[in-house]
């Protein structure tokens, strides 16, 4: 392998609410980034993404995002995923008020 694989999580938006959700190791959709399954293997990541994409009655726009391990569980790497995990910066709306997840 020419390049080390960056660990991934599977993420999407909830069909009903539009809220950001993350695929857990036990095949639930969690609203918390730290509960996501951190996938270290590229082939497994692709399989998990494809499986998740079939759940069209539950979620929309499934994709893989970079993540890294943290004390509570996986943490986002890119700032876009930080905002998705937290909510907008101009109002205390979204996940930042609805969950206990602090901004990493």
């Amino acid at each position: 392998m020419s390049r080390r694989f960056t660990p991934k999580i599977v993420t999407a938006n909830d069909l009903h609410k539009g809220d950001v959700v993350y695929l857990t190791a036990d095949d639930r959709w969690s609203r918390h980034h730290f509960e996501a399954e951190l996938i270290e293997d590229e082939a497994i990541a692709d399989i998990r993404r494809i499986e998740a994409s079939r759940q069209t009655g539950t979620v929309v726009g499934v994709y893989l995002a970079d993540a890294r391990p943290g004390p509570r569980g996986p943490e986002p790497v890119h700032f876009r995923e930080v905002f998705r995990a937290h909510g907008p910066s101009n109002y205390p709306h979204g996940k930042q008020t609805e969950t206990a997840a602090p901004r990493p």
């Binding site: 069909l15 009903h16 609410k17 539009g18 069209t56 905002f83 907008p88 910066s89 979204g94």
Partner: protein, 558 residues
């Protein structure tokens, strides 16, 4: 103002009923997302970063108090108690739940509003000068024509699957406040040598990835030829426009690649075929619409109460000097209500603020409000004697910022705080710049200065035509902001020039401060505005202020 006919009402309600059934079928699994997505986009429903977003059209920016109150009700009942007014005279609700959207659309239909064609590759909400019908410099009110175009373009069977989205703007004034040169089609009302009214037709303007100033395709188009000519342009584009590459699909690229002359020839040929099919019914419809836009009866009254307050209250005087615009009737004024109080999100209004503005329009403003592409709200017909009462009510609602056209009157797209396409945040940059200049108390000394911020290359924040434009990008996983200078969205439209390497999130406010500082140092006199000074001086002194004396002195990620 235009009132829906029975046909309009039935059309909009029928569309809501269709969409309600489509949402039900999506939720019960009968429709996949691939099947549903084009249906929801046809009705203005996006899926953004944190939630769905419903974009509602405010055609040519005009609404009445009942409609504004309904927007407040929708914000309270189905959203988080606020709405975001956009640069295309729409309002966006950022937090709807999918199952509620049909009810929201029904609530809109109750007041003659809709979200049709606020997305997708169709002719979008037609925009117009926000001072239409009131401006002192106006040839004629452009809104009847805009309404005619709305009716013609809504559900037009030939134009539901264009190569790309299509935006039309109309102005009735020589001073272009509708950014007509940055639209797919811009229409400027003019008169020919005999005094007959018509349009200068501009085609192929647009911002985004490949910004272009529109080109004049017809110097003078007689009024009665408008719809067949528009139809000829859009039909020609529909045929010639590229569908192989999304980034080359807008009409500006079609015109650029084919050349204006060849494109014009194709349009004129199509126009010759179409013109005979327009038997004059469109003109009858237009005449009916025009009757509904008759100006209100302007009251004649003493303005002593205004004069007295103006003479004695410096806060009122500052607001009046900044936020009022000359009206066609000398006893009246056009009031711009700033949605840019420093520190607030540009273009956002709470439901309570919407109700205050609706009440003021009803009580003092002939029941009319406007939304500007600069994300402010306008009361177009206020008698000067009523201005003190209007100001007091606005101040009590946190809506009396005296900053129209000044450094804190910033256009900003939602950026990465909401938008799925964004590459960086816009809103906090706007908040920080406005707050900083509020602290410096320099705003009125700086004078007219338009800052426009986009959070991605698509340029919803019109950064290319900002006197100072800011474009937020993702550079190797970090927010980075490029600056352009000297852009202009008026009749003298110009695209800004890039200064050089971009700035990090925590460097952008000091960078803007250095640019403004350079302007204050170099201007001839306070009468020379930022844009005038830039045109005289060029990039030089501003680059020096930004990067130090050596060009690109600092090694930044470009």
């Amino acid at each position: 103002m235009y009132t829906y006919t029975e046909f309009d009402d039935a059309f909009v309600r029928n569309r809501v009923a269709q969409f309600r059934a489509q949402v039900e079928r999506r939720l019960d699994g009968s429709l996949t997302e691939d099947e549903f997505k084009p249906l929801r986009l046809m009705n203005g429903l996006y899926l953004q970063l944190h939630a769905y977003m419903l974009r509602v059209a405010i055609p040519y920016g005009t609404l009445n108090s009942r409609q504004m109150r309904q927007l407040a009700l929708i914000a309270d009942r189905w959203d988080k108690g606020y709405g975001h007014f956009t640069t295309r005279q729409n309002i966006q609700f950022n937090w709807p739940v999918l199952a509620d959207v049909p009810d929201m659309l029904d609530a809109l239909a109750d007041v003659g509003m809709h979200a049709i064609q606020t997305s997708g590759n169709t002719i979008r909400n037609v925009t117009a000068d926000h001072f239409a019908g009131a401006a002192a410099d106006e040839i004629a009110d452009p809104r009847p024509v805009a309404e005619l175009i709305r009716q013609w373009s809504t559900d037009h069977p030939e134009f539901q699957f264009l190569p790309r989205k299509f935006k039309i703007a109309v102005t009735g004034s020589p001073n272009d406040r509708a950014v007509t040169r940055a639209h797919d089609i811009g229409l400027r009302m003019v008169r020919d040598a005999s005094g007959a009214p018509g349009f200068e037709v501009i085609v192929g303007g647009g911002l985004g990835r490949t910004p272009m100033i529109g080109k004049v395709i017809r110097d003078f188009l007689p009024r009665a030829d408008l719809l067949p000519y528009l139809e000829a342009i859009v039909a020609t584009y529909n045929l010639l426009g590229r569908r192989d590459n999304k980034y080359k699909a807008r009409i500006k690229i079609t015109v650029h690649e084919n050349g204006l002359d060849a494109f014009r020839d194709a349009v004129e040929a199509r126009f010759a075929e179409l013109r005979p099919a327009f038997s004059g019914i469109d003109q009858e419809v237009l005449a009916g619409i025009e009757a509904q836009f008759a100006p209100p009866a302007f009251r004649q009254a003493d303005t002593a109460i205004f004069d007295a307050r103006y003479a004695t209250d410096p806060v009122f005087r500052s607001w009046a000097d900044t936020n009022l615009t000359a009206h066609r009737d000398a006893g009246h004024a056009i009031v711009t209500i700033s949605l840019k109080t420093p520190g607030q999100t540009p273009g956002d209004a709470t439901s309570d603020q919407m109700r205050v503005m609706a009440d003021l329009a009803e009580r003092f403003g002939h029941d009319e409000l406007r939304i500007s592409h600069e994300q402010n709200v306008i009361l177009p017909y206020v008698h000067r004697a009523d201005l003190p009462a209007v100001f007091d009510a606005l101040r009590a609602a946190g809506l009396a910022a005296a900053n129209m056209g000044l450094v804190s009157d910033i256009i900003a797209c939602p950026g990465m705080d909401y938008c799925a396409l964004a590459t960086a945040r816009s809103i906090p940059v706007a908040q920080a710049i406005a707050t900083r200049f509020e602290e410096l108390k320099l705003e009125h000394e700086i004078g007219p200065l338009k800052i426009k911020i986009s959070g991605c290359i698509n340029a919803c924040g019109h950064h290319h035509v900002g006197h100072i434009g800011i474009l937020g990008l993702d550079r190797a996983g970090v927010e980075n902001y490029q600056i352009t200078l000297g852009g202009d969205g008026t009749e003298d439209a110009a695209l800004g020039d890039r200064t050089g390497p971009g700035f990090a999130y925590d460097e952008i406010v000091p960078a803007i401060e250095r640019i403004v500082g350079a302007y204050l140092d170099h201007r001839d006199s306070p009468a020379e505005t930022f844009l005038m000074a830039y045109r005289r001086l060029g990039l030089g002194p501003f680059k020096a202020a930004l990067y130090g004396s050596g060009e690109g002195a600092r090694d930044r990620a470009a």
